[in-house]
């Protein structure tokens, strides 16, 4: 068995004295692990950093084996983001979420493209926090638990959508949601505008919303909770919002 594929490094774990077990999100082979011989060495360690884009080659005698990996670096996102605490926390959170939420060896081309786009946004966009929330929205959709924010679940109206039902994941209008507003989740307006025009408080509300559904629908059924890297990302963002007065 052998394949080569475009991939993003999600995480690494030491294996023995010199090896690494690397988790990748590949374009056509889904989330896939492999053993990198000599991966802890000076030459290979910079390649296998979380968030780096690589061309990976995986080999094994049988498909169910762990197999061995080799990789060539395409884009060193990790090194570019290390200086910036917010962007680095975003990268760590996205990688940890993908590592925990995406099923192993199940192709999700959309998820790969979305994560690659998020990494590009982290490299250059000022609105990377919004890009992250939109990425979590797409993660929910790709895994089959997308939110329906197109119209009100109760009245069908498309106007003044300000809540989301925690049960159905559908938007609810201000009028229909008024009697139940303590039980409904807040819908930040930028999610209705594909991320356009947001402020830090809205981004944090967006993270609360996606975090609720990710935890409830993806992690809890498997006895897991949201990864600590995501909580740290939210903490960093909250601190940045406080400093900037958002």
């Amino acid at each position: 068995m052998q394949w080569s594929d475009d991939a993003i490094v999600l995480g690494v774990r030491r294996h023995g004295e010199a090896g690494l077990v690397v988790q990748l999100l590949t374009r056509d082979h889904g989330r896939h692990a492999g053993l990198v011989r000599g991966g802890q060495g000076r030459r290979l360690r910079p390649i296998y950093q979380t968030g780096n884009r690589v061309i990976a080659t995986w080999k094994a005698r049988l498909s169910e084996h762990l197999g061995s990996l080799t990789a060539e670096l395409l884009q060193g996102h990790a090194a570019r983001l290390m200086e910036d605490p917010g962007r680095l926390a975003t990268l760590a959170s996205a990688a940890a979420m993908a590592e925990m939420a995406v099923p192993e060896r199940e192709p999700h081309v959309g998820l790969f493209e979305d994560l690659a786009a998020l990494l590009e946004a982290l490299d250059r966009d000022a609105g990377w926090a919004v890009s992250y929330v939109m990425w979590e929205m797409r993660l929910l959709t790709e895994l089959g638990f997308g939110l329906d924010l197109s119209r009100c679940a109760a009245t069908g109206t498309t106007d003044s959508l300000v809540y989301v039902s925690p049960k159905s994941g559908q938007a609810v209008s201000a009028e229909a949601g008024e009697p139940y507003k303590d039980k409904l989740l807040s819908l930040p307006p930028f999610l209705l505008r594909e991320g356009e025009g947001s402020n830090p408080a809205e981004v944090l509300a967006g993270l609360d919303l996606t975090g609720f559904f990710l935890e409830r629908r993806i992690f809890e059924p498997h006895g897991k909770t949201l990864p600590p890297a995501r909580s740290r990302f939210v903490d960093v963002l909250r601190r940045m919002a406080t400093i900037s007065g958002g």
Partner: protein, 205 residues
């Protein structure tokens, strides 16, 4: 079990020694056998002093309650040394990193060993590292600068940013090691991450 013993023969002292040495980093079964043969041949000049040294080290070496360094005294020799600058603390991931900086003889302050880095994959959270002890040391009033000497990995830098957050508001200067071109390094052979870090951290001459 990789130690070759016959089915009728229980594992003897020699096999046990080979098995134990084979667990050391850098030694496999073959090199463990060679090491054991060498020790047996040099019984008096090497094996017995080594056994005594190991027993003594196992008995006496303890982590320093202040910095986490390994030593036979509490506090360790570095924390007790009055010639070292108590106002500077260099934070490292492991004792091996402390030794590496000591070998360079470039730092005359004191250390703080974290015992690892934050890692989502390995489930290492801030509570698993000696971060609270660092914050307490930094708040003692004696410290003026904390140098974050973490590895240039995503985990290492995530930990550095976390510590920076924890130390904010204390008024202590927090710095970190530079990232860039190593001494003797040729640009043509450097990975793009190191090059971009070196460019973004360039200095005016």
């Amino acid at each position: 079990m990789w130690v070759r013993t016959s089915a009728s023969r229980p594992m003897n002292e020699l096999d046990r020694l080979i098995q134990l040495l084979g667990r050391l980093p850098g030694l496999g079964p073959r090199s463990a056998r060679r090491a054991v043969l060498h020790l047996v041949k040099k019984r008096e000049s090497l094996m017995q002093p080594l056994a005594a040294a190991l027993a003594e080290a196992a008995e006496r070496i303890r982590p320093c309650p202040i910095c986490g360094n390994l030593d036979t005294t509490e506090p360790c020799a570095i924390c007790r040394d009055p010639r070292r600058d108590a106002a500077s603390i260099c934070v490292v991931e492991d004792v091996a990193d402390l030794w590496a900086i000591e070998r360079s003889a470039a730092f005359a302050g004191r250390y703080h060993v974290l015992g690892g880095t934050l890692s989502a994959l390995d489930g290492i959270s801030p509570e698993d590292l000696h971060i609270e002890a660092l914050v307490a040391r930094a708040g003692s009033g004696e410290v003026a600068e904390v140098i974050l000497a973490m590895n240039a990995t995503v985990e290492g830098q995530t930990t550095a940013h976390y510590i920076l957050d924890r130390l904010q508001g204390t008024g202590i200067k927090v710095s970190r090691l530079a990232h860039g071109v190593p001494v003797g390094g040729e640009l043509d052979y450097l990975d793009e991450g190191t090059l971009s870090a070196a460019l973004s951290a360039r200095r005016v001459l």
